[in-house]
Symmetry: D2
Subunit: 159 residues, 4 copies
């Protein structure tokens, strides 16, 4: 079985409406392109991205910090209860072929750090200008296109 590309969408759990709207568009676009969405499964950017992906019948995976899958937002199709707290951020990044970062705080910064460490492509969508080494996009469609292109290029190199 050939697996579909997996894209992580990361950003603030407590995000303003404009950022949540952008996250929704990113999730929708990921599903339209046939990719799987993975993220932390809770609120804010995580919830809006999952809502967008489900709107287009995409698969959504939520890697939650606690043991109770009922804490995952309702757009998470597969809730993975890690119980490992914030360390679950590593799993989100490690399980993705590319990462799209929206505005966020310390937790998002940690995920970007791990993505750089693992050599995963990161696309910063209207965010994180201070961090070097990221790809840049201004629209949801561009972010997803860049992420999938970089993921495919990396996949080819690994074969």
């Amino acid at each position: 079985m050939k697996r579909r590309p997996v894209v992580a969408v990361i950003g603030a759990g407590d995000a303003p409406a404009a950022v949540r709207k952008l996250a929704f568009e990113v999730g929708r676009e990921i599903a339209r392109k046939g990719a799987v969405l993975i993220n932390g499964g809770l609120a804010g950017v995580m919830e809006s991205a999952a809502a967008g992906a489900r709107k287009e019948d995409g698969h959504t995976i939520g890697i939650i910090p606690g043991y109770d899958r009922r804490t995952a937002n309702r757009h998470v199709e597969f809730a993975i209860a890690t119980g490992i707290g914030e360390a679950r951020n590593v799993i989100i990044v490690a399980s993705a072929d590319a990462v799209i970062a929206l505005r966020g705080e310390g937790g998002t910064l940690a995920e970007i750090g791990f993505a750089l460490k693992f050599g995963k492509p990161v696309v910063a969508l209207d965010s994180w200008p201070e961090i070097a080494g990221l790809n840049r996009a201004e629209t949801a469609a561009d972010a997803v296109a860049i992420a999938l292109r970089l993921a495919a290029a990396k996949s080819r190199r690994r074969r």
Copy 2:
């Protein structure tokens, strides 16, 4: 979205043919009943159970110990790369509504321990007679039926 029940199938990564055959039947039955299979994503019981579930178009999740999703067996639809080594056993159990245990060794025993700790129903399929507090089944169909019945009963109590 109402999520489907999730069943973990655990057992030896290096299992004899008879145990792998039983795991295949368990996986197939889980998919037939519309449940999702989760396990450690590698060889032996893990691979055979996933093969059985995919044969019936069921969803399969593999929670792998390392960072490289290519180590997941080819019947894993969604490969979660944890990088947390043997600690990923906790995630398998925590993410399931019920656990079906086949013959195994230390890693399987650890998973049974966590299931007891978390109060998850465990069905021992022709295995683990020495451990108290487990439900018992002799056939794959029985094991899945018991697991799903106990999972549903627990889900009702939590509402």
Copy 3:
């Protein structure tokens, strides 16, 4: 720097007085022999073993499940806040040269499972008769003597 041997003492967090007394004696004996005690850092067997070790000025390490080191019992000299919940059991076992198991429940069983998986010597002290492959002791002094002897033998083989 040559590191001292490290012994994990595992058992119920909610243990009866007789078991706690035995844990205290085990901790005391570990310190007397110049070894370091490691365990989960909370109550019951964990607390009593640490109290015994500190009584003899031994070093004690508590690998706690949460992020707040104030939840470690007061006999823990070095509190490691993992935040990874029950998965911290793996760390306790992996960081020890030998494991002494007292009576316990699911969490203790999981630790025994990991110890068997990792090939760490396990000494069951008046407990776990149903699990094969463990060493047996009836007194605290015997348990510690066996644990340190097996740890030293294993250390020699690895050189």
Copy 4:
């Protein structure tokens, strides 16, 4: 037992000599002030900081990514074998009262992200000018003084 303050020193595992020298001075100063050093236990900044702390008979804790404690550098007094890979970065930060960051790459950035998330004081020592919300120091002595002062202030507020 009142526990000593714990300071994490983070930075590149593959660091140039000038950065390693700075790390050594930081470790030495931590020990002189009676604090405990914690870090990832491997090479570069981690090894030099531990060497400095041991030079002054300070306690050093290494939270290593794998299962084999022999991979810890020889200045680690207590080697904690997590087996959880890069996720062990969370434990380093969570177990410290303050964090001193030297130059590093993705892994160090992840640790800074977690420190911000957890509200731990971070002192950037001649490094990370691009990240907002960090305290700044130019010398090892200043970095340790600031870290211990902030840790003490936070400890008082929590009582």
